[in-house]
Symmetry: none
Amino acid sequence: MTTYERRQSLMDLLRKQPGLRVPEIALSLGVSEGTVRNDFNALEEDGHLTRVHGGAVLSVSSNPSNSEFGIRHQERSQEKNLIGQVAAQLVSDGDSILLDASSTAYYLALNLKERSRLRVVTNGIEIARLLAHNTSNTVILIGGVVSADGSSLTGLLSEQIIDELRIQKAFVSCSGFSVESGLTEVHLEEAQLKRKAIESARQVFALVDSRKFGHEDLTPIARPLQITHLFTDSDISDEWKAKLQLANIPFTICKEQAVLPK
Amino acid sequence: MTTYERRQSLMDLLRKQPGLRVPEIALSLGVSEGTVRNDFNALEEDGHLTRVHGGAVLSVSSNPSNSEFGIRHQERSQEKNLIGQVAAQLVSDGDSILLDASSTAYYLALNLKERSRLRVVTNGIEIARLLAHNTSNTVILIGGVVSADGSSLTGLLSEQIIDELRIQKAFVSCSGFSVESGLTEVHLEEAQLKRKAIESARQVFALVDSRKFGHEDLTPIARPLQITHLFTDSDISDEWKAKLQLANIPFTICKEQAVLPK
DNA sequence: GCAAATTTGTTGATATTTGTCAATAAGCAG
DNA sequence: CTGCTTATTGACAAATATCAACAAATTTGC
């Protein structure tokens, strides 16, 4: 049995049962636990599954049962919140900004609570409600088809509206990033909207947590040159730092700046 | 059972009951209380639940039933729910319907949970999320400016979209009703949207709780003739019943004992 | 408001799981 | 066959999970 075949059958197994455990698989396939771990890690790298301590489960994106109401606010919340904190410093009272429906943008929005008179365009429902709560803001929610998790809006109906609005600063996330393709997105509809947004905005700020580096998804949404500045977290590898510098993409690594109290 | 599985089942449990207590869970899962605490804390860190002294509850963000943002469901909720129940009987699987952002329409939406393959157009955010949760539905949320209470969308951006959609049945509420002016609305932007909706819909169903009769507000949105059918509650006076009959407006009084197939 | 009861976070011990590393085996192009 | 890359394995150190015991913090009962 080749490596490829083994990994294929692992995925087949995983589709039939909720999770796999390293020792069991090693035993049933007659390979060492180390090999199973290698397989799991390789498959995770390619986005086919998600590792958990002791085994592996289907990755959240291909697991429909996991898509509960607005639940995407979990993974790497620490890092995303830091990115949000730092990016928020670019927004001043009265700015016209655009946020996509990503969870990173949500954390950014959380850090905009103190701002006033913002003019916000977004397709993220939670983001819209959060910022509309401050009555000095004007929040435009781009219309469209509601996603199953009730968190975002997409669709052709929305896009023409973006053309009619003057947006100073666009904050967009993505599902993948590479130096060659820039920002890439796995969801086609999201991608269309983001591309439109990036075109019409004066400045484009990319919110890219370190997990996204190296993944390259189907649809490119912004070439490296279109990115005004990129924000990421401190888990970024030195290798990627070098690559970003070489590609001449300005970036900021968002660290815990304040000393922990006590 | 792996850590992941255990935490997964904790979340499953939590969705079925309002809260979990540490000692009970420890006993029923056969782990120590310290482990349960670890689980709760980890799940809280990821935003899946909220810790309370002695246990855990579903976090506000993943709790669909929470209505932190001022939904004005309080007043006359009994009556509005009845109207919603009865009006829901007009909706069949696969229908194309329009709902406004009123609380009565929200109660109608609550009674549409069992329907499938609906095509829904609305400017009510809660309504959109509620119905989008059923993946067989297609829910279009009309874009626009988010109201301060985060419940509805209005604005010129939205209206052209309605023209492009074929809507069979429109369910609209209002803030006032008189035989002379028909439905009237106090909010100008809401009114514009509703007028547009009424124009383009095959059938128009007015959801008018009895308090609305006799109030006549600034902007007329539908003449009596445009109303296919009117739903109200049993608090309507005999005087108004007569007036409606005289004006030749078909109407239904929604009472408790209405069709209740057990 | 105080004391008892409960719950919590912490600590150290133990068991599992994980990543690393070097050695070996297997696959493959020339 | 030879040299090269990749895959696999066992050994071991680091990380993680669990547990029990205990002190600190919180809630409850009076």
